[in-house]
Symmetry: C2
Subunit: 348 residues, 2 copies
């Protein structure tokens, strides 16, 4: 089905240049203070902005040297965004954590697409107001023993022509790990933490979303997955918004526990020039996935007025392509096996 991408927020910069009534009402609500009865839009926005600060602060501690550079912007049509990027640190080659909040109008063609997954969307030929907010993060470490990580959690609403009650809403997101050198214990840890988060909310979630992740991060022309998986979900509206928000919060809060212990173990390990070259080649695959397959990136790049620097924040600082490079299977055979055939890191 259609995917509301993690960068859609950035992408939808066309439309009227004054804030909608909903956007203005929400501004007022924020000034008055949020409660559990506030619209989910505002609660999710508050959540992603809060964990952006927590996560970047934890990542700065891991780096021990570099600080995130903060870019904030607002949209005339309503909404705003904060991109935080740490570049060329002691531990991290590049780490980007972005949040965005978008109030906009969705063209009829896009509305029609969404109706497939969300049948309660009316059969209107007019553009409909939408809202999207989310957090997106990619971290590329220097040390080839330390894995790249990505996560994204987002909330989407489609409104009626008037009024701010959503006609349809859903959550999407996930997290996945991309090691250059495979440490099975790291893969198990990453999956274990997110499985525990899933299990608190639904016993089927981990199993279903783990498979969805393996299917999504597939580089078809290489016959390889991008990494060793995690979870991926979209169009999630099978429980109440409060229940799903609680699930997404548990996932988002799990990130530091998922990733920081791995980094502490790996960030100072010795490595060879061969390891570094292998990492750079795997970074090339990351670029291939992002530019050729990732629905969010593709959507963003093809949308006029998108904030390109936010979309391409996910790119590694450096990457490499060698003609006919063959992986050293003595060293990387296990990783390649897992990229070819996803593995259940913990019993399902």
């Amino acid at each position: 089905g259609p995917v509301i991408s993690e960068v859609e927020c950035e992408a939808s910069k066309t439309g009227p240049s004054k804030p909608s009534k909903t956007a203005m009402d929400d501004q007022k609500r924020k000034l008055e203070g949020l409660t559990e009865d506030s619209p989910m839009r505002l609660r999710m926005e508050e959540f992603v902005k809060r964990i952006q600060i927590e996560i970047t602060s934890e990542l700065e501690k891991v780096d021990g040297q570099a600080k995130f550079k903060i870019d904030q912007w607002t949209r005339a049509e309503g909404g705003d965004g904060i991109s935080m990027v740490l570049q060329d640190g002691k531990v991290f080659e590049k780490a980007g954590v972005g949040v965005s909040v978008v109030y906009g109008m969705l063209p009829p063609a896009a509305v029609a697409q969404m109706r497939a997954e969300h049948p309660n969307i009316s059969d209107s030929k007019d553009p409909l107001p939408f809202f999207a907010t989310g957090i997106s993060c990619v971290v590329h470490p220097h040390n080839p023993n330390a894995p790249t990580v990505h996560f994204n959690y987002r909330y989407f609403e489609l409104g009626s022509k008037d009024g701010d009650e959503p006609v349809s809403w859903w959550f999407g997101g996930g997290c996945d790990l991309t090691p250059t050198i495979l440490y099975e214990e790291d893969a198990v840890h990453f999956h274990k933490v997110i499985k525990e988060a899933c299990d608190q909310h639904d016993p089927r979630y981990y199993k279903d979303f783990k498979k969805w992740c393996d299917d999504y991060f597939y580089i078809a022309h290489r016959g390889e997955r991008r990494g060793i998986g995690g979870i991926f979900f979209d169009d999630l509206d099978d429980k109440s918004a409060d229940e799903l928000f609680a699930f997404v919060q548990t996932c988002g809060k799990a990130f530091v526990e998922q990733y920081v212990p791995i980094m502490e173990k790996r960030k100072n390990m010795p490595f060879t020039e061969q390891d570094k070259r292998w990492q750079q080649l795997r970074r090339g695959r990351y670029v291939e996935f992002n530019l050729v397959y990732d629905r969010g990136t593709k959507f963003g790049l093809l949308t006029p007025g998108a904030r390109i620097e936010s979309i391409l924040m996910t790119m590694p600082l450096t990457a490499r392509w060698e003609y006919m490079h063959e992986p050293d299977l003595q060293v990387h055979g296990k990783l390649m096996d897992v990229l070819h055939t996803p593995k259940d890191w913990i019993p399902l």
Copy 2:
């Protein structure tokens, strides 16, 4: 209109696994020796294979150290290919020159697409036999003062259900230069040589194909061209096949004169670390164009059974992405101007 890509040859590996009658007849004709009356298929194949040897030999002289590695393959369905790649040389970071020859069957959907540009293609619902041959070349030098270059010349035939007389045929191709540091005299030289080649065959070609090139190599999400242009043409069948073959030969033979004198001037120039970093960032743009926009690469990547290493031979050895990098306009302002607004390097 639809484009027969430079890698289509590589890409079309599905279909029957024994050579067609045309492929077998052509094998016999080759053994008997080619004349001016031989099918254009064979004359173009012979031409691209000949200039592949000449050009790689000239590039080896420029490098002065590294040699091209040769990979040859044959297709069960008929046809073959030769990929020649020089990697991590003294002068060149990566240089790839590939030729391919493909006899295959084209699915009805692809046939229907081609009918738009070539109305003499019959309205058949069956797959039709096709033939494609071409040469493709990308050269990325180490020295940031030396430009990346790309060229490609190709010939395509669509046959009837039986018999080997083509129902439709055309030529396509072009060449373009991608400097990291702009030397206007190099841009003028590159364009001057190819203009002289064009002018020998048609006074309109250079003007028309120069514009086509500026339009094609456009990185929309950056609002920039990939480089400083050259020529680009496709679906060319407005003269006799003999006349167009002569034109394509003149272009192909012009390459060494277009590029080698520039390399000789630039390959040993001193450069700074800043220059190198700027080059790596521009290499990132090259990757973005190839993976997001280039029709040949996209078609190849999305086609099952394609030879991925041949398609991605065009990638630079290394590339870089920095968040919010701003070009130093004191140094690179002129280059950026030209990438934003193509320039007529020689009076039209």
